[in-house]
């Protein structure tokens, strides 16, 4: 099923829902429904199985968790400045949607699918081509750092603005992982906003899925209950960043 079909059946099957801002406390950043798909609501836990608290997230550190499928990586960031509000994004095929904001007290916490919207480069347990480049580190992909860079063909994305493309051959923004803060400061992933590339990902990386997840079928399973969230340096052996 391609994306357009997906969108056509929004609401009809119940598989896709429009998010009503009143149903979720704290800030919510998917409000059009059009490009939003709800998945299992899962809690982000650290490597030792303890809940990740939003207040403990280090500034500008790349954290990785797999969501919504057990093999699809996402990055979680606590930026050192507030995110923009109500960013209007357009997908390559012309659908428009709104990315509302980051979450947390200063709206600095964001999560994005870490599969490049250009041609799917992503962090694996072996190496990572796609991550946030801290402000004090150089990048060749854009005129400033503090952006998400895919070092495969040097595309960059604005972490503050819904991972909107800034430069390079990518056109789509990265898909956003919609996260919420629980009452006790805990973090939860609930869905995906925007044009994800999961379908192509499963088609393209069969050998890799076999190596790390025991095959495509297993890699496609949905994450349930909780997602292990670790710093990128623990998730992968080698970070490739230009």
């Amino acid at each position: 099923m391609d994306r357009r079909n997906f969108l056509k059946v929004v609401g009809a099957t119940g598989a896709f829902i429009a998010v009503n801002p009143s149903t979720i406390q704290n800030e919510l950043f998917a409000n059009t429904g059009a490009m939003f798909r709800a998945y299992e609501r899962v809690q982000l836990l650290d490597g030792a199985g303890a809940p990740i608290k939003i207040s403990q997230l280090k500034k500008e550190m790349n954290y990785v968790f797999n969501y919504p499928h057990v093999s699809t990586p996402a990055i979680l960031l606590n930026l050192d400045e507030s995110t923009a509000k109500d960013v209007k994004l357009t997908s390559e095929t012309g659908e428009e949607y709104v990315w509302e904001s980051g979450i947390g007290k200063d709206r600095t916490v964001v999560a994005y699918s870490a599969i490049c919207s250009h041609q799917l480069a992503h962090p694996t347990p072996d190496d990572s081509f796609l991550q946030y480049v801290q402000k004090d580190k150089p990048t060749m992909a854009f005129e400033r750092s503090g952006v998400i860079v895919c070092s495969s063909h040097l595309s960059s994305f604005d972490a503050r603005e819904g991972a909107k493309r800034l430069s390079g051959p990518a056109i789509d923004p990265l898909a956003s992982v919609v996260i919420e803060v629980g009452e006790d400061d805990t973090l939860w992933a609930v869905g995906v906003l925007g044009s994800d590339r999961f379908h192509d990902y499963f088609k393209t990386f069969k050998p890799e899925l076999k190596k790390f997840y025991g095959g495509k079928r297993k890699g496609k399973k949905l994450v349930k209950i909780s997602a292990k969230t670790v710093p990128l340096t623990e998730y992968t052996k080698e970070i490739i960043q230009y």
Binding site: Q119, S167, T204
Partner: protein
Amino acid sequence: MEMNRRDALKFGAVGAATVAAATMTGCSTKAGEMASSATSSAASAVGLGADLIGKHKVVIIGGGIGGMTVANNLKKKDKDMDILVIEKNDTFMSCPVSNTYIGKLEGMTLGSFIFDYAQPIQKHGYNWLQGEVMAIDRSAKVVTTSSGAVGYDILVLSPGIGYNYEAQFPTWSPEKIAHIKRVAPAALIPGSEHVILERNLNNMEDGDVVITIPSGKFRCPPAPAERASMVATFMQKEEIEGKVILIAEGAGFAKKPAFIESWEALYGDKIVFIPNSKVTDVDPDTKVLTYAQTTGTGKKDEDDFEIMKTETKTHKYEVLNLIPLNKASDVIGMAGLEVTKDTFGKVKMNGCSFQTKTDEDVYAVGDVVGHGIPPSGQTANWAGKQCAEEISARLKGGSYELPVKKAPVKAGNVCYSMVGDMPETAIMVTHDFSWNGSAIMGKGNVPKGPNGLYRQTGTAKALRDWYRGLMADMFS
């Protein structure tokens, strides 16, 4: 006989030229309907006038990196756009990364470089004509191919390069040129040239491999030095005694410091660079290459310039990879476009655009363009996307200003070169693109890794991932 859509597609897209006419005229939108409309096409062709087998809004010559990018991106912008791609080959073979095949790197077989056109035709739904372009009549707006003539409203040229043996070796007969092409091919145009080079290396005795670097613009400036690296690693692994001799007409070559650093560490003195040397003759029977080397004498003339001397030298080789002067593909000459006066003959462009200066209905992308951007696959991909934006805007009655006109494009080109094996290491260059008022220019930057070296294992992984992504951009 029942034929399912998938079979029909394979037949139409990858099949012989006999169905080519059908693939064009019979099919206006869906690739999958091509072969099944074979019978009705003859009838519909009649309406187009005696000589034409079809007419299309946009005709693209060349199913290579530039042409495929334009076609795919035009269809992404408007799935109903009437597009025909003309390509002489029935499968695509990649030049990028093909040197790793020469170096026998893990998993790099001929199959790693071959792609079929069926998938993109099916996915994007443009029309396809397998045939060789023989003539272009811009006033009648007709392209004549070995499979028939086609009309166009807008023509896009991405035919790549040809070789200019004639300019470099004016005394060689056509027979001698043909002979040299068979025994010492340049291998900058993918296909049998790469297969011959690989066979020559496989069969070689101890001795030297000579690779020549021409002057002027040529396809993929780092390719000869990357190839030297891959030949060296091959010889090392096979324990072949001998050197890799890189002979250049100029004083240097692309990414030179990064290559030299890598060669010294990985191959000792196995790779020898001979600068300022013009290849003047080759004797393929005795395997001797003759070149004229210009060197300083150490003496100064009255104006304090060093007095230079030119000496004729010879080198005995086991395997020769003679890369001659490059030129724009003959297709450019057929179109009668204004080109630069150098030996390459770049297409003159209409300002900050991929429209040609000569004809507003003719666009050019890829290696033939007359901008100052490098002749690379990634650049062809960038240019192809820009060109698709221009054409799409124009067909909607608007116009598109290239963002590069306003602000430089960071890393518009990124080009990796594999330099070592076990472990694989690579170097890279990026080019920022900017508009200087008369052409789009590229400014190169060769970075070092965190350990202070140019060559990095991570860069080798990036090279492989870059390649996977670029091919996916065109063929999946």
